[in-house]
Amino acid sequence: MISMKNRIITLFGAVALVAAGCSKGTKVAPNNDATLEGQILVDFPANLANPNYLDIETKAGIMKDAITAFIATPTDANLKAAQDAWKNTRAAWESCEGYLFGPVEDFNYDPTMDTWPVNKVDLDAVLASSSALTVSDIDNLEFSLKGFHAIEYVIFGVGGSKKAAQVTDREKTYLASLTQSLYNTTKQLVNSWDPSQSGNFTVQVTTAGKGSARFAKRVDFFKALVGSMADICGEVADSKMHDPFAAQDSTLDESQFSHNSVTDFTNNIKGISNAYLSSYNGASGHSLSELVKSKNASLDAKLQTQMAAAVAAFSLLNGTTFEKAIYDNKDKVTQIQAAIHTLQATLEGDLTTFVETNIKD
């Protein structure tokens, strides 16, 4: 049992760490609401949303630079570096899918960056054509011709075996603009929450129930949060995993070119845990977990156990790609889906009831 004093020091330390770790800073103004609910409304954007989005931007910048380096020196090593940068950016992005609400949905940053499937017919036609491929041309393309999966298609190739020598000049031009366009979108996403920008969404959260246009009551924020946590469970288990599994067709698998699907799914579920703990990269603050624990410790324990179990379930695959697992490890795929469904049921049941019962204003 950690003493109250130590706990406060730990929390201060965590906040300081976050502030130090972010070059732009994510200092969120207090909201004059000393209740735990009020503190969560400050710490969620301060310790999770802002740092998570900033991390996506940073990593998208590294990916863009890696593509520039690859174009300058098109070696297999530089292609591998670009592929790794894609995976790193992807990890930060997939974890923010654990709480998809706010600008990421309102302004369609999600479909702009992460539409699936790619429109392969049109993408091949674009590459075969001589149409202009500047960043503004990319911005005008349909969602299914840009973003993570268009980049993935070009740098990994069908089957994931692309070599540097196979990347054409036209593909390089396309990649340069695709990665710049994606980076620009991540910047917009960061700005949309940045407390120093006018009209930012952080203020909508911190003032929930106290003047926020978006969340008339504080419970509206918590319901949006829990709803988004439950939604990603359904998205992973019943769509991303279910569709290729039920059809026994790995070409229906989302990150099929990079074979990154299992990592994608795992990070989605970790994102739920981040949302519950107001935590990113170890830094944490006042959280929904703390609120649940203060009134119903067994529910908090149940949720934490189920979140950990859903994340751990992916290790059943032992590194097998999802593209293979749907054929070779059917029982394990089913077990993972079951673990996610168990968590989803608690989020939609007990936790939703808890929020509706305990947060009245």
Partner: protein, 448 residues
């Protein structure tokens, strides 16, 4: 005179919500959902059970899915010409769309026709174009045109001097892929919200037609006529319920029509590509591109989205706003209560008292809103009374939210002040109210 007004108020007040009409928060009867967040329009009927839940979720997934050019392993059949690439790109968060055309997130489409009526009394297709303009195309194909929208801004005043601004749109076409000879009629249509449609479909035809008052027999200055339209899904003439001019008979026809016309995806209900006979036609023998299982899942999804509950109904200002809404005769068209028919096969939507704030009828809305393009029995100035349930959440679900058939209104005040024709008396009533009362009406609308 003072006495008369007081009596009138009292009398009207008691008619606001008779007790037998249940809880006025339950806009969708048993299928009301208690959500006021950005996902408030996307919740399934609470009454769904078993396999119905699975079908709803399947429809939800397809609704959110981006479609791609055929051939492809999944979600194929987009275009070749289209208005958008997924349902949700227009119906953002299952809500009202964005009034722009031709951009990635645009939700405004343009209907087109020649003057006159076709064999079924409907709009006459324009050769080489049909009855809807597809302003986007897959890579390498030419969109039919570009739709240009420009606004003219004018400032007006309420009786007390407070000003408001209205923007009047002008729509023009450019970049036509082939010339159109002679004159043609245009009608802009904004993607509407998706929830509550199954309940509106379940209201018996007799209940809707009983509300008609084509000759204004009751002398309230408000008429109201049903539209009767040709329903391609059943090859029969039916009561029109959906679309801004009640120009579509059923959710199935609406969904199949949207797949075909808005996205270029063929179904068993509409198996011919929207570009058939045109230069853009794909020539693939892959129709219908969307299997019946998925078409029906999306239809079922649209049928079973619950209605958000009203909020703060006991607030004194909101109650005052509702009284004024009644006194302004807004309710004479925006009918508060309808009852769905008994349906043993679908208990969730059977015999429900609902509060949609629509009579499902056509009304003359005056020259300001007119598109001057008839659609079956709907004339150029007629629009179907928009259901107002959920209208108070547009700002949250579709930040910032737009109103009316083409999204010209940016606020509820603008939407009210655009009303003309049969609604002129209500607009005048609102305009003459003191500011505190106008605000009460708006606060009431925000509670819907």
């Amino acid at each position: 005179m003072v006495l008369a007004v007081v009596v009138l108020v009292k009398c009207q007040k008691s008619a606001v919500f008779p007790e037998e009409q249940y809880d006025d928060r339950l806009s969708g009867g048993d299928e009301t959902v208690f959500s006021a967040t950005s996902t408030a329009f996307g919740n399934m009927f609470p009454g769904l059970t078993g396999y119905d839940i699975h079908v709803h979720q399947l429809g939800d997934a397809v609704f959110g899915q981006t479609f791609v050019t055929a051939p492809a392993p999944i979600h194929n059949g987009l275009g070749t010409i289209f208005n958008n690439t997924s349902c949700t790109n227009c119906h953002h968060n299952d809500g009202i769309g964005l009034p722009t055309a031709g951009e990635l997130q645009s939700s405004l489409l343009m209907r087109i026709s020649l003057p006159g009526e076709d064999a079924h009394g409907g709009p006459v297709p324009v050769p080489s174009y049909g009855v809807q303009l597809q302003d986007k195309a897959v890579f390498g194909k030419q969109p039919e045109c570009k739709v240009n929208i420009s606004y003219d801004y004018k400032t007006y005043s309420f009786a007390d001097g407070e000003t408001y601004e209205l923007r009047s749109p002008t729509y023009t076409l450019s970049n036509l892929y082939t010339p159109i000879s002679g004159s043609y009629l245009l009608s802009p249509r904004l993607a509407p919200p998706m929830f509550g449609l199954g309940l509106l479909e379940a209201v018996p035809e007799s209940e809707i037609t009983a509300l008609q008052d084509a000759n204004d027999a009751n002398g309230d200055g408000i008429k109201g006529r049903a539209n009767y339209v040709w329903d391609g899904a059943t090859n029969s003439r039916k009561l029109g319920r959906f679309g801004w001019k009640a120009n579509t008979a059923s959710i199935l026809s609406q969904v199949a029509g949207a797949f075909n016309q808005d996205m270029g995806i063929t179904t068993s209900v509409m198996p011919v590509e929207n570009s058939f006979g045109q230069a853009q036609y794909d020539g693939l023998k892959d129709d219908p591109e969307l299997p019946d299982s998925l078409l029906n899942a999306v239809k079922f999804y649209a049928q079973t989205l619950g209605v958000p509950a009203r909020r703060n109904t006991t607030d004194a200002t909101i109650k005052r706003g509702l009284q004024l809404f009644v006194l302004a005769k807004c309710v004479n068209c925006h009918k508060q209560t309808l009852t769905t028919g008994v349906n043993i096969a679908m208990p969730a939507m059977s015999n429900q008292v609902i509060h949609p704030y629509t009579d499902m009828l056509l009304h003359d809305m005056g020259p300001g809103l007119a598109d001057n393009r008839p659609d079956f029995l709907a004339g150029g100035r007629d629009w179907r009374t928009a259901a107002l349930w959920g209208v108070g959440l547009f700002e949250i679900v579709n930040n910032p939210g737009y109103y009316l058939h083409d999204g010209r209104a940016r606020t509820l005040t603008e939407a009210i002040m655009w009303h003309g024709g049969e609604a002129s008396q209500s607009t005048a009533y609102f305009s003459n109210l003191p500011k505190s009362d106008r605000d009460a009406v708006l606060k009431f609308l925000k509670s819907l």
